[in-house]
Amino acid sequence: MDAGAHYSLQLFWESWDYFREATVAGTIGGLMLGFLGGYIVLRKMVFLSAALSQASGLGVAYAFYLQIYWGASGHQHAFGGATDSPWWAALLGSPLLGAAVAALLVTAVLALAAPRLSGRSMDALLGLIYLLGSAGILALGTRIVEEVQDIQTILFGNAVVVLDEDLRLLAFTAVGVLGLHLLLMRGFIQASFDAEGARVRAMPVRALNLGLFVSIAIAVSVATRVLGALPVFAFSVLPAMAAQRIAPNVQMTLIIAALLGAVAAFWGYVAAFLYELPVGAAQTLVAVGIVAVVEVLVHAGRLARRGWKWWRRPVVASAATRGGEDA
């Protein structure tokens, strides 16, 4: 945009062709991660999402580092690696593969460690993975000077322009993950919130948990590559926090969280355009705003119900009693 240009909603729609891929990618990511966030928040594993997104970010950063180490640069293979390098180097230097391997590795470590760890030890392990991911990205960032803008994107999400391939990849991932979840929703819910009862009823709880975690890992790793770690963490926590307050059951929590995630992603992008903010930060702030608005509405609703009850209290009886006393 020209310096001094007036950033308005009208200008945003006029420039829609320019922003379309990034906005749609964010909205798809918000929808998918909002849905999965329902499990993350209700199962009280918010740190899992943070650790996965940071580990995925480290995987992406490591892929960039490998590209530079092998002298690859410029254009990309289907995996995202550079075309002027051998196929194996392109594969190993693929940011997507880096993100997926890191996320699946973390999932495997957590799945193996979970039965042996108490809640507090699990928290500590997730904290360790998060810190390793964050510090690793920053440390590798100093070795990837030419790609420093990408490192910023990985960390904070500044997806101003999203490539067609990235959008397609994110859309395919969302369709696959959400399709799987719609098919297995009852199983995932039982394995998540009545694990022992489900095991007694011969349901494959271990396989369901594995499927749930792997789907989260894949979604987080792909979305981290495209959108950045900060909005990925935000979309997988904040919409579900808001949905949990207003939904009558788990199924509705997942659906409302998905819709709120999409809304936060879209309007976050618009806000980033209007107020010249980094996209990831704007999307996160919009999601925080949604949580705040829902919280206020919930409290207002409660107060209104109390007020209504107070208004409808049996005043007639008391008046009659008073009348009787007077008489």
């Binding site: 209700l42 719609l182 098919l183 297995l184 929703m185 009852r186 199983g187 819910i189 039982q190 919130f193 009545d194 022992e196 009862g197 489900a198 095991r199 007694v200 009823r201 011969a202 349901m203 494959p204 949990q244 939904a247 009558p248 059951n249 788990v250 199924q251 509705m252 929590t253």
Partner: protein, 269 residues
């Protein structure tokens, strides 16, 4: 196995390959009311989890008859109140078994099972209420309805009356006994309320990890067992109503109580 639903032969339960008690055995049949009793830390939960196949057994045999459906009602604290759920949602979830969740709308195909479970557990009026807002007694009935929706043959309950007031506790046990008769279920209930056990149970499974003892058998056999009497006292029968009560050994007669038809007898102050 004949009419036996669950059979244990020389069963050993414990952790890490070491058994908590000597081997023991039992047969659970339809219509029987088994009470699993013991002090805190006696090994009740370990035994319960082994019976439910949530823990591997250390030794012996544990066999359920082919096609027998187990139902497990955990302690109420195991249901997270921050997870939004209406009563109807919880009850519907009880219809899932094995891989049935692959049919996403399955519970809608079994509305009769859901309705019957809610009627039997007396929670029909609560259908749309959030679980978290219910009283302890109502929550227990909802958890029972969830399991009943799966049409179990053997219902296993872990301390169903913990943290309940006396009235809710009495109602819960009455409901359990009613459901047992109505559905011809076998029940296995972990309980600390020995007078209720003496009144309703047909069989007793008493475990004591410290003493390394298991008392197992019909209520009359268990009450006559010297170890059971040493731990819980002697049983007394009321001359008028025939009700059994447990009391300290030094007592020589049953404590005075009210004979209310259809209701549990009240202790005299």
């Amino acid at each position: 196995m004949g009419d036996v639903l669950l059979q244990a032969k020389a069963l050993e339960v414990g952790y890490g390959g070491s058994a908590l008690f000597p081997p023991f055995g039992f047969d659970i049949r339809r219509d029987e009311f088994w009470a699993l009793v013991g002090r805190n830390g006696a090994g009740k939960t370990t035994l319960l989890r082994t019976l439910l196949s949530l823990l591997p057994k250390v030794g012996g045999e544990l066999q359920a008859r082919d096609g027998v459906r187990l139902g497990y009602v955990p302690q109420r604290e195991s249901v997270d109140p921050s997870v939004p759920a209406r009563v109807i949602d919880l009850v519907r979830s009880g219809t899932d078994r094995a891989w049935s969740f692959l049919w996403p709308f399955k519970s809608l195909w079994r509305p009769d099972a859901v309705r019957r479970a809610m009627r039997d557990a007396q929670v029909e009026a609560l259908a749309k209420r959030p679980y978290a807002e219910l009283s302890e007694g109502q929550k227990q009935r909802v958890l029972m309805a969830r399991v009943l929706a799966g049409d179990p043959d053997l219902l296993i309950l872990d301390e169903p009356t913990s943290a309940m007031d006396v009235i809710a506790e009495r109602e819960t046990f009455s409901l359990l006994d009613h459901v047992r008769g109505e559905r011809r279920l076998a029940l296995l209930v972990v309980s600390h309320h020995l007078n209720v056990v003496a009144r309703l149970a047909t069989h007793v499974l008493m475990v004591d990890h410290e003493a390394g003892k298991v008392v197992c058998g019909s209520i009359d056999e268990a009450l006559a067992d010297p170890f059971f009497a040493e731990r819980y006292g002697t049983v007394f029968s009321c001359y008028d109503c025939g009700e059994r009560r447990l009391g300290a050994r030094r007592l020589t007669q049953l404590a005075p109580h009210v004979h209310a038809p259809g209701a549990a007898a009240e202790e005299a102050p």
